[in-house]
Symmetry: D2
Amino acid sequence: MHLTRAERLYPPTFLFCLFPNRFSAGKLLLTYKRTTIAVNTNLKPKLQPPLIIVNFKTYLEATGQRAVELAKQAERASKETGVYIAVAPQFVDIKAVAEAVDIPVYAQHIDPIKPGSNTGHVLVDAVKQAGAVGTLINHSERQMTLANIDAVIQLAKEHDLVSCLCTNNPTTSASAAYLCPDIISIEPPELIGTGVAVSKAQPEAVNNTIKLVRKVNDDAVILCGAGISHGEDVAVALKLGAHGVLVASGIVTAKNPYTVLREFADSATAKLPQ
Amino acid sequence: MHLTRAERLYPPTFLFCLFPNRFSAGKLLLTYKRTTIAVNTNLKPKLQPPLIIVNFKTYLEATGQRAVELAKQAERASKETGVYIAVAPQFVDIKAVAEAVDIPVYAQHIDPIKPGSNTGHVLVDAVKQAGAVGTLINHSERQMTLANIDAVIQLAKEHDLVSCLCTNNPTTSASAAYLCPDIISIEPPELIGTGVAVSKAQPEAVNNTIKLVRKVNDDAVILCGAGISHGEDVAVALKLGAHGVLVASGIVTAKNPYTVLREFADSATAKLPQ
Amino acid sequence: MHLTRAERLYPPTFLFCLFPNRFSAGKLLLTYKRTTIAVNTNLKPKLQPPLIIVNFKTYLEATGQRAVELAKQAERASKETGVYIAVAPQFVDIKAVAEAVDIPVYAQHIDPIKPGSNTGHVLVDAVKQAGAVGTLINHSERQMTLANIDAVIQLAKEHDLVSCLCTNNPTTSASAAYLCPDIISIEPPELIGTGVAVSKAQPEAVNNTIKLVRKVNDDAVILCGAGISHGEDVAVALKLGAHGVLVASGIVTAKNPYTVLREFADSATAKLPQ
Amino acid sequence: MHLTRAERLYPPTFLFCLFPNRFSAGKLLLTYKRTTIAVNTNLKPKLQPPLIIVNFKTYLEATGQRAVELAKQAERASKETGVYIAVAPQFVDIKAVAEAVDIPVYAQHIDPIKPGSNTGHVLVDAVKQAGAVGTLINHSERQMTLANIDAVIQLAKEHDLVSCLCTNNPTTSASAAYLCPDIISIEPPELIGTGVAVSKAQPEAVNNTIKLVRKVNDDAVILCGAGISHGEDVAVALKLGAHGVLVASGIVTAKNPYTVLREFADSATAKLPQ
């Protein structure tokens, strides 16, 4: 059910990931880079900031056919503004959503398992075959052990999925940066669902996190992930150095999700040129 | 996130469920019966023994398009023999499978949650909207607390889903019978995936379980759920008083799943008239 | 780490436990009874109602030396009134408390493990050697799977410990009765720590539970376990048919725990003769 | 039950911990250092390599009175050789062991909780009052989420306990180094209890880990933690750059634990001068 020793130890991308900037000058090392993280090479360019990821959680407003409709609104806002907007529907809705829209679809979680006897668990292959191109990991509502976070990030890399690791404070974010996820989303659990944006309530947390993460990881995209509900929250987040936002109720339970997403996207692009 | 007090206490079907046979003579009580367990009334007649439920677990042979193909083979065996054959694919495959076949589709698990903030969890509404008509509960690979088993069985009833509760020995099976699931599947974890059928390795366990369960619950369908790999296993299970089998690797990893399912179904129907 | 198949299946006390009253007439069966539940025979007479069990939880007021002092106050109240008062301190305090007082000491939890490689877990042998004579099981703050509850009750029996199983509503209480714990304590999680006694807020729950439990289990002692804070709560609980109370903050955080315990014990004994 | 936002964010020791060597030249910063990590200042000098920590797990050979006796043998080996030998008994045995010996006593785990309603959990205050001076964290047999590891390390610091964080591979060890535990013990779960020492089976893992951890954390003591069973294993571990070993069955189930501990300690001190 779990990964073998050989699969856990010595991930090939490890050393590079820790010190990518030191390797970038040499040609040989660039080759090394291409080889080792080739799996996600195609995904990386697509993660063009600003990013907005909409977590559907288990809201009825984002379940079944309504998940498809919400994803279409996200697609419309994305196409009109050029902003990367991804959606993370429930497991059962991934396939229908992925078939209905052209924007990236993420899973909300995958389990650290291999194919076989894991009744009721979420297999990376199944999620991928259903059309997901990424996954949230360690959301505060679905936390994992350190060893499992590491294992799932490796699974995501091996299956060419974007890994979006959620963390709860600057310390754990810096710690997580060492595990080389593609995206780190800082989500103080106290603010989730409150409508108070982390980028406003804890601007220093966002700032600290970015600085600390950058000490060890030059590549990770950094998102703010709690309480985002106004376009202004997005603008503040970007001004503080984040590359985007992870948002849930602010969009999902809005009367008109398209309008709010449009406001987010406009705010994001308006701030960028500054 | 969890059920309220009012939702947990006093489930309306409770008293009836415990002593249904004592209520069956009186007209008034029959009315009571119709009211209280109306939700599952439509499902019950469909649970006509013998039953075969195929748990796809997270086998690659039963993931994505291969899940759909496997379900079609189950559908063929069911239509040819008239035996109730249900399939339990992974969450992400429920919708595609349910759209492709006419046999019952079960989820492998649902979480004891209500709509809202439950990232990475499995909502009963989502599973149902995707086309599932039932769910496994408390499989040995996805065990739950006693309070959560109770809550999920209630959720299944309220959403008109068949609840198939897995237990690991006679004691817990009898205990579980009090929670009034539609199906109880005895699954000694030691035999799962071994190819040694519970109905042969532990015939007394099957027998004991049935007797004990019947002391408190006249309605529950009883399945044997571990190591079933030959038609003979199915026949023995039925002879011991079970109503069918819950099977996984015996079908999923077979070279020709249809052939084995056909063997199972033929064996099941051959034994019934005796 | 877990119990073997042989240890889980066929617990010797099982059949008797389910139907003790049907076995009591025959001499042979009485012998059977003596043999099979001999382990707890010595404990049962000590469980003389009314019972008061004080759960110390992890309150600082009941940690370390203060745990010993609190236990001494419980001992004083017990000796003065003759009421069975037991205390359930934290794991690390069991030994010191058990050495300091003559009243029964319970663990707050034990794990379903056997001796060996279980770092950070709670072994029944260790708890017993430290002086505990019983254990809480499945408290709402430390819930267990159905299989583990069953395993721990068996472990308790084998080690001659009183098993006090906590449940959250009438349904799960009746289900739990089948697992044959010595004590069943109904604890609706919504009332814990509120000061609203289950025996007053949900008298019908207490009543239902007792009736349902008695259908399958004639022996189990039944306690009310949430919100008990006044002598009157204890009297009401006993009047409804409970044998006592499981109490925590009502005693532990009281200005004068002895006074409150004395009130509880007096109320319990005053009501009994009626 | 969990820590508040203010307690999780902005731990005062954080920035210093990440870059202690860069702060050491300036007087002001030294002052800062003294202030912020004062709590553990007294402990740090005591963590003089080589270190041997004996994890008693839940072995019967190390339960109750036998835990005290085993600790006395460890104390004798420590006093005779001058090597730092600590013992980590079960929760219930901490107090008796701490009262019986003069060597450091560790808990095997503490929970990320504050005083209050946490039945069956392990409170840092209780462990400390019982005499523990440190705690294992995240042992492979008792894993925690990333957020909880962070919270427990902070709890340990605040309560002046040595934090010994167990990790399973180089990646997670480096990640963990950012959380600033006092000790990092690398424990590939595949080797635990096998008698195959990590320092011999995976010397490169030990080496990698040390290098990676040192990139971000100059202070943490590093132990090898799996399969250590011979004096030679200890010598190899130290030669590879580790500061000592975390050992369990190699000592606990030995016929003569004192002899083996003596061998370990002699081997450790013999190698150091080289």
